[in-house]
Symmetry: C2
DNA sequence: TGGTAATAATTACGCACTTCACTATGAAAT
DNA sequence: ATTTCATAGTGAAGTGCGTAATTATTACCA
């Protein structure tokens, strides 16, 4: 497999250039947008498009990376949450909430993890409706190794940003999330 | 359906707060990361996590929005690309390249669009292997209406950023993409 | 010219995830 | 105590998107 591609994400087709003000922009995106779009809206749409691209690429990156270890991004997230939980166990609904996904999805993720022996289901003595997922020793070992390796991979990219750029990126992404939250609660 | 949720993305569980320096951060993420992580790496991982959250949310947002018009984000992207193409037609492989996806996926997307009468397949007289997808009048009408509406929806959020913030967001997202491209071509 | 490789699209198949409906249990109310 | 509603988890069915193999056509080249 071609190492310069993520799955079949053909990045060579995605041109990125430096604008005159030293900021990156995607000429194809801009070219398609600036006809028939009021200029004062262009900046917003361009930023949104850039975020969509980065989001998709980071997603594919995580997915592909997890796949090399027999996992998916979702399954890895489950292991990670469990690793940080007290006694390395969480109820299914707590997992769903923490991962911002549906209970049904957690069922499927835990199904797979249990099949691979990384997690086991244990009944909750306090509430007979509830099922808890708990890391097995194999699961703990796996996520620890994966976590070190994952941090390394992410840092290989983020270390080429300045501290301030990283803070800005975090700030702007979360600001967008925050505004979307507000926007939707009307 | 609860208007404050996107699909089943339970955003209420995702706390976002202002740090002392006036920047947003996710306390849960930071809490889980800052044990067992060298502080000089924290900023990078935190930014990465924020981008993943924003990416997921914007994706779900687009998906949900397109769904209200009987489409998916992928199908809408196909219509959009075709709309900007000369004669409103493109070969399947050109579509795959432009959308950064696989030929197989384009086949499926065009299948659906053709079934709904928004697109039709036409043979390429120059190359009998090639099949082109072309917008029907109904497709043109649909994407034009959708585009106006979509710009409106995105602008409702992005207008609450300053011009400079939008430029920074675009710049940082694309810089990340650019660095990932470079990082992977080794 | 004939044989081989490359390319375009598709079929067959699998995985991850979603929605909807359902069962089991707990909590609350009268 | 029984009815009612909320909560926890899961089965069934459908969608979107991925890989691998297949078919048809074109390009290349000795």
């Amino acid at each position: 497999m071609n190492r310069s591609e993520i799955k079949d994400f053909p990045m060579s087709a995605l041109r990125i250039e430096l604008d005159r003000d030293g900021c990156y922009f995607a000429p194809d995106t801009r070219g398609m947008l600036n006809k028939g779009l009021p200029p004062d809206m262009l900046a917003g749409i361009e930023a949104w498009a850039a975020l969509r691209i980065a989001g998709r690429l980071t997603h594919l990156n995580m997915e592909r990376w997890a796949e090399q270890h027999g996992l998916s991004e979702g399954r890895m997230s489950v292991l990670f949450r469990l690793r940080k939980a007290p006694e390395q166990r969480l109820a299914m609904n707590e997992l769903a909430l923490g991962l911002s996904t549906t209970p049904r999805n957690v069922t499927g993720l835990v199904d797979n993890l249990e099949r691979d022996g990384l997690v086991r289901r244990v009944p909750d003595p306090e509430d007979r409706r509830s099922v808890q997922a708990q890391l097995t020793p194999a699961g703990t070992e796996k996520i620890d190794a994966l976590w070190r390796s994952s941090v390394e991979a992410q840092t290989a990219v983020t270390k080429r940003f300045t501290k301030d750029e990283l803070k800005q990126l975090r700030h702007l992404c979360l600001k967008l999330v925050q505004l979307m939250k507000e926007e939707m609660s009307r």
